[in-house]
Amino acid sequence: MSEIDPALNSGNAASSSAAAGANERKLARKETWRLIRRRPSFIIGMTIALIWVVCALFGNLLAPFDPLNFRGDLNSSPTWSHPFGTDKGGRDVLSRVIAGARDVLKIAPIAAILGVIGGVILGMFMGYLRGWFDSVASRIVESFLSLPVVLLGLLAVTTLGNSNVVVIGVVATLFTPVVARTVRSAVLAESELDYVESAKLRGESTPFIMFREILPNVSGPIVVELTVRIGYAVFTVATLSFLGAGPPPPSPDWGSQVSDNYNSIVSGYWWSTFFPAMAIASLVIAVNLIADAVQSVVESS
């Protein structure tokens, strides 16, 4: 990394191989990873998130009971055989919470990824092309932002029905303008930089400049946005289910579990609400912890 000065020291250290260079690149990437991994918030967040991912993938093996099947007592408080108790249908809450992970993890990340992809493309064009396209798109973005997410979601789900595809589509659509705004401002700042001008001086085409030159440089905010969005997606899906516009039953998704059971809290049957609620919170917190770690490393590098 030291500067080799031409005047007195004519490049004697200059002949290391290209392989070493590739190695260095890998090291740099590893270094970023290492920095992220070292953060306690990342470790905690990742651990929690991984637990839920495992539940989502192998839920049917892990769940002690059939999450949809009815057995035993209704509303029985936590015991050794039902550590999270049973709900008002007599179903094992633990099994339902484990099974619920799949719904959330099927929907939230996909919705977030789609939203981020849409937002990146839109934001890229807005920030780079500017002019009338940006003005028009900005107004549309702004009008979406001024709407309560949940309301739009409700409206769309009422209109289109509540299948997983619709929920994913709705959340992704709602995230697109939000992400676009972030990407736009990153791209705006980025296109002020001279390398963009230098690419123009080289005769590069606009798509090349946008997607090959600028895009990699705004990957930091995009990665941050993605992690943050996953958290919001979990939250949004839960809220939509609570309001009756989530994934359709019998999916034991956490939001509908809370929605189905929250009125039993007053009877003292707190467990059937508490555990799915905590599941939502823990996953959102976990994703946010990861986002925090990613953000601070991305922003400091």
Partner: protein, 521 residues
Amino acid sequence: SACGGDDDTSAPAVTAGGDDAPAATDAPVPSGGIQQGGTMRIASQRPGSPLDPVAMDNIGSYTPVVQSFEYLCGKGEGAALAPMLAESWSPNADGSVWTFILRQGVKWHTGGPFTSADVVASLGRLAGANLGASITPDSVKALDDFTVEVTLLNADGQFPYLLSPYNPQASITPADYELGTLFDQRPDGTGAFILESFDLATGANYTANKDWWGGVPYLDRLEIVFSDDNATQINGLLGDQVEAVIQFAVSDADALFSSDAVTVESTRGAGHRQIWFNVREGMFSGDNGHKIREAVAIGIDRSKLIEQVLQGRGDIGNDHPIAPAYEFFDASLPQRERDIERAKALLEEAGVPGLAVTMYAPDLQEIALLAEVVQSQLKDIGMDITLGVESTATFYDRWCLVYDSTVEPTGCDGGADFGIVDYGNRGTPDRYLVAAYATGEWNSAHYNSPEFNEAVKVYQATVDLASRKEAIKLVQKIAHDDIPYVIPYFYHTLTAYKNNVQGIVTTGLGHYYCGKAGFTA
């Protein structure tokens, strides 16, 4: 929502009266313990449509209106009628002309006297609407200030039920009450409570009508507090913000059963859930279809369903719409029991072992839960059911398939071969039998059996209990054997109030009267 299909405009609400006893409503009898004074707050569903007494179509709207507007006939003991604005009524020999003797001395809230002119005008308005099938505007004649004669288009021995709370749109409004006027614009009734303010967002407030013909109400004030779901209604009761919750689903009532401060009344009724099959075409039709239907009928475990879905608060169903709560119910028909082996065998015979099929259901009250339990129970007989549980709006939209204004509605046929739909409590099973189970607009099973229709006709023609009991036997049996639908249970409706509340009269349709209600010490 408190009354099954009544809570949504697009729900298959069936509101008609019959002359037979519905479920007994154990309304507390006003006792000497009631004190004068106090404000009663009752949690109710929010009105779903404008408070047009003639056009309103949901429980949320009936409730505020009936506190002020009354009917000619009121609710009596059990399913019987009692005098209200009419002191007595009588038919001619064949039941085609009815004469109503009106109560004298009744005053409108604005002070004018109630006379036969008001009744003539009210019924005239109804002739263009809800009572169109029974009367025309010319059918109603005032014989004098307090006598009205109604000539029916077709003879009907049970006509007064159509002028009672069982037909909520039939309330009597002032003579000059224009069609389309909303109750909150002109709350000028004869009832026990005078509307003071109405706010769709929060609720309706009333003061007692000191000039009420039934006497001075105990309560000074009545407040109806609107909310959107049973959960908040029940929370309100537990949180001391209302004194009563009328008719709610058992699935939300956990908290009430365990509370000492609250009395919960469980009322047997005829409200039920119907698991329908399309028997006209598709896999559920024909002989093979019958086998599958029977497999489903004996594949489910009804008592367990009642236990898990209703926490035991329901009467077992036997795949016909006659509830055990009806006086004339025939108990001799053998109850269908679960038989997994036979169900499997039937599926095998039908050539569809491990049948995979989608079952549609609205996400209403306990129905989603019911669907899930049915799904899991039928797994035992090898059926693989996919659930299509949809929001009520989506469900009924699809169910009724009338989306545009270019076609005349053809009724609601379910739009699917297999599903669950809700039926609210009725005073008589007539409307179920006619509208939903034969050729009416709610026949999702497309069931059309001449035999059954004939049996229903015979039943309807009966005038006394004994013959009715006899007639219903066949109705029950045909439905039970044909299995166009599975009826797993008849749910009980619940009413809860603070221990010191007495005298609220509930109608079984979700609305209630508080003229004689009050607080004990």
